[in-house]
Symmetry: C2
Subunit: 215 residues, 2 copies
């Protein structure tokens, strides 16, 4: 009771006790350090203090672990976006901007998750669960787009799905290109957040949305 299943990684016996979680944590650490490409199954095992074959008891192969990390990433991502959206309080536009910031903040705060989710080469539909998790995260954005659109005059109202895709693509593009102030990244004459906020504002104005018009 005092050696495993705990957060503390003290000495252990033959069995690890919580290897799956330990491997995921190791993967996150390694991906954050060396990118999803440089991440190694064997090193994750070493990091967890087990033999190179042990991880195969929990993941089919290296890609399966990566996909699992991506899955958890989408779940965290959904939570982060939903929290920022906060049901559109106090108003849809304010909440949308907040969600944009949350998008970039997630990419910066959780580069390992973000990398596994979008840059690891794991197909978004490699498993049904992964696909579903990705769709749930996108659904938050779509919900926001729907609320924004619903406040527009019905005449000439754009499809909410399209709006959601535009905002997603722009956010993702900014995060991918300039997201982490990383030295391994392009630099920018302004912050990524400012760039995204400005872009979304211009875009919404193009849709006919005027700030301060909704509840």
């Amino acid at each position: 009771m005092s050696w495993s299943k705990d957060e503390k990684d003290g000495p252990r016996g033959y069995h690890h006790g919580n290897l799956k979680e330990a491997l995921v944590r190791a993967a996150l650490e390694l991906i954050a350090q060396k990118g999803s490409a440089g991440f190694t199954f064997a090193e994750a095992a070493r990091w967890a203090g087990v033999s190179p074959a042990a991880p195969y008891r929990h993941f089919r192969d290296r890609d399966d672990l990566l996909a699992n990390v991506a899955l958890r990433g989408f779940e965290q991502f959904e939570i982060a976006l939903a929290r920022a959206w906060d049901d559109g309080r106090p108003d849809a536009l304010t909440a949308l901007e907040r969600m944009g910031k949350a998008y970039l903040a997630f990419a910066r705060a959780e580069p390992a998750y973000y990398s596994a989710m979008f840059e690891s080469g794991v197909p978004p539909a490699s498993t049904p669960e992964l696909r579903a998790a990705g769709e749930r995260a996108f659904a938050v954005l779509r919900e926001a787009a729907e609320k924004v659109c619903s406040q527009m005059p019905p005449k000439g109202r754009p499809p909410a799905l399209m709006v959601a895709l535009h905002i997603w693509a722009t956010s993702h593009g900014i995060a991918s290109l300039f997201g982490r102030g990383d030295a391994a990244q392009r630099t920018l004459p302004m912050s990524a957040e400012e760039l995204l906020e400005a872009g979304v504002l211009v875009y919404l104005r193009g849709l006919g949305v005027t700030a301060g018009s909704g509840s």
Copy 2:
């Protein structure tokens, strides 16, 4: 004169004669097939018919080859964008839309280049040449943004750099997320081209640009 330095890869002697080019072509082929992550130095060597150590005479290591592919990719990319822009003929907006289509067309037609450029983990500034090539490609986009902006009334005219970054991010986001109809990619209720064109039109309207107002 009949066995090497040619396109034809007939039998060869001790020396290959054009190994560097052959390796780049092999890399493009392999990256297109298995992604920039699955690409292997050894396999490229095999594909070129040389020993696994031979490539080291032309590239410092695997990443160096990848960076070289990315460099050539940016050069081709610049050409493709510049051709589409065509100095803003017949008018800036038409040319800008054409360039957007060229962006997506490049990502789809040259997935190996695109992958090496943006998804391989090669830092954009890993070499000065790579950085410069990337900047030259972006400069085409920036030039277009400047022309579009210059047609707006000076009052409230947005910074062209920002406009260029917005369009770049959106294009890149769409290309990354939905770019190749690939099974390994997300699907879309519309074509990537339509999505981008609509997004840019809305964005430009938000800037106050009205279609058919410039020469």
